[in-house]
Point group: C2
Chain length 363, copies 2
């Protein structure tokens, strides 16, 4: 059992933003909200999946919407609590543990806020092992947990509940509500017991986020190249592999809000000779190509880090002229099964590329 | 206390379609569904507002969406029951009486279906005294009843619940869900007790629908001009006034599905000399003008009836060449107060026209 205290939040928000692979919401806002909650309510207990009681009633939570909107419609920190209370009121069930539904700068921090507010333990795991733009793209769904009911709240206290027999349909309907809530909403979904959570979750992603933050911070202190340190560290984790795909300067960024997502294309001119790297975005970085050749693709993580500080840059903060390292991180095995790839592999995003896990040579 | 049996449904569907003022859903589909339910489950008890127990737990119900879509996505008759069961499951309350939220060809019949299925009494009243395109346009809302929770179901068993502090916001969110349910959804909303229902409802609209149907049927049998008989009869009801605004042939109909509604404009060339009548539609007929002069406008009813049979033609069945009488019907006093006009008068539809009740000379 670990405890999350205020000083931990800097590392967690940093590492979660790396795992957010461009999405998952702004880490700065996430960190401020989590710090406010932990300072007001005290530290949060972080349970590993092993420590989670089998009979726990776990809900997962996070924000849904276009990350570009979060920058202007900043959460107060009360919305998720309203969503959870609505879930409890509607189902008559009592939540006993909280899990993030994804890893990301904002979406790893909002569950910390909720855990602090309620005094409930936080589970050191999530359902994406990264951020994905759609709520059916969860290992929970892949391995048989229903997304429903989905309880939703916005900052004005508007509440909604969605119940469907498919996670994809729940996504479609919740996205419609999210758009009508102003393009950003707070969700509680995928209720499950502790025994199930152990089977279907990507383990240890909150502590991984914290470790990522720590490794980069220590490398900076030691005057070591932080991105190198990060890549080396990731090779030792259950994710197992990371590499620098390339480095360059952002020369173009086209981005818009469409159907409730931030979608766009980023072009990055390499520092060395060569064709530009082109990254397609749907909230998160989905695929990076060079000259039509796929260098990395979902579900593997594609992270844009500032070349000097290794600071992860969310897609909504990408700007012309930024100098970035493009880092690819392989997802852990639970996210690379055929059934997982059917839900969040390239085809699920309409991409033609075949998935070839980073660091593994094609047979 | 009255009873609705299968032979009554012809008159009810006919009259409800007149009250639907072009909207409220297709009466033929409504009649078939109601007949099937009454034949399977037995007759329905119709309670006047006076007969309704003060402590009754009343919900109101109906279909939401574009009537054009109902013609292709015909309800099975089970959807409203799913919505009501969802309402009960989520709130823990037990419904004891059912009221239509509007009068209309489909939406007066679906509550009959639900009453037959559940064995619950139907309340002889509704919240619009006609059909309106938006769910905040209810006397329930005008006189202080919350629209929430709004329970929704579609034909695939997808369920949703919306809870807001304003009926307009509930409309906005429910419309978003409705669109994602395929443009047509089934709603249970405006829960209230019997005492409240007596205060906030437009009374006796189900029996009025049946009387309208009977009057027209009897006029036809007596070889009397049915529209004349209808107008004369309406003058004796609590609506108090109706008149023939004009007659002509439909020369143009522009119609599309937009934001979840059927919207359009109909042009009718008068049989006599004169400029065309122009009717604006948002599911229902909103305003009829001639040469820029307003002849009738919401909330008063504008009904297009076949010149020979007095059959009401819903907006989704309007076609080039149809020969129609344009009938205006004044709404009862509960719908003409300043607070009512603020919610469903011309301005609420973005219309510039001032409301002048039909049959009442401007002061």
């Amino acid at each position: 059992m670990r405890t999350i205290t205020a000083p931990d939040l800097e590392d967690i928000a940093f590492g979660a933003a790396v795992l957010g692979t461009g999405g998952g919401g702004d880490p700065y806002i996430g960190k401020l909200l989590a710090r406010g909650a932990v300072e007001a309510h005290g530290p949060v207990t972080l349970l590993s999946l092993e420590e989670l009681p089998d009979d726990a009633h776990v809900i997962t939570c996070g924000a849904m919407g276009a990350p570009t909107i979060v920058l202007e419609k900043v959460p107060s920190g009360e919305e998720m609590l309203m969503a959870m209370r609505h879930y409890e009121a509607m189902t008559g069930k009592t939540v006993t543990a909280i899990m993030p539904f994804e890893a990301g700068g904002l979406n790893s921090c909002l569950p910390i806020v909720l855990a602090a507010q309620t005094g409930l333990p936080l589970v050191d795991a999530d359902g994406m092992g990264r951020a994905f733009p759609q709520l059916e793209m969860e290992t929970f769904n892949v391995y048989g947990v229903s997304a429903s009911p989905v309880a939703m709240a916005d900052e004005k206290g508007n509440l909604a509940l969605v119940e469907t027999d498919s996670a994809a349909k729940a996504e479609f309907m919740a996205r419609g509500i999210c758009i009508r809530m102003g393009g950003q909403a707070n969700l509680v979904n995928y209720p499950m017991d502790g025994r199930t959570a152990k089977r279907v979750s990507v383990p240890a992603t909150m502590s991984l986020a914290q470790d990522i933050g720590r490794v980069v911070r220590e490398a900076r202190s030691a005057k070591r190249e932080p991105t190198e340190a990060l890549i080396e560290f990731l090779g030792t984790t259950h994710y197992g592999f990371a590499r620098r795909i390339g480095s360059g300067k952002i020369t173009d960024i086209a981005r818009k809000v469409e159907n409730g997502w931030s979608v766009g294309v980023v072009s990055i001119a390499p520092f060395e000779e060569g064709l530009p790297y082109v990254i397609r975005i749907q909230n998160e970085n989905l695929v990076v190509e060079q000259g039509g050749h796929v260098l990395a693709v979902v579900p593997d993580l594609i992270c844009l880090l500032d070349v000097d500080t290794a600071e992860p840059i969310p897609t909504e903060r990408l700007r012309y002229g930024q100098r970035v390292d493009i880092i690819g991180i392989r997802v852990p095995p639970i996210m690379r099964t055929p059934e997982a790839l059917a839900v969040f592999g390239p085809k699920a995003f309409g991409l033609m590329a075949a998935y070839q896990p980073l660091g593994i040579t094609a047979a």
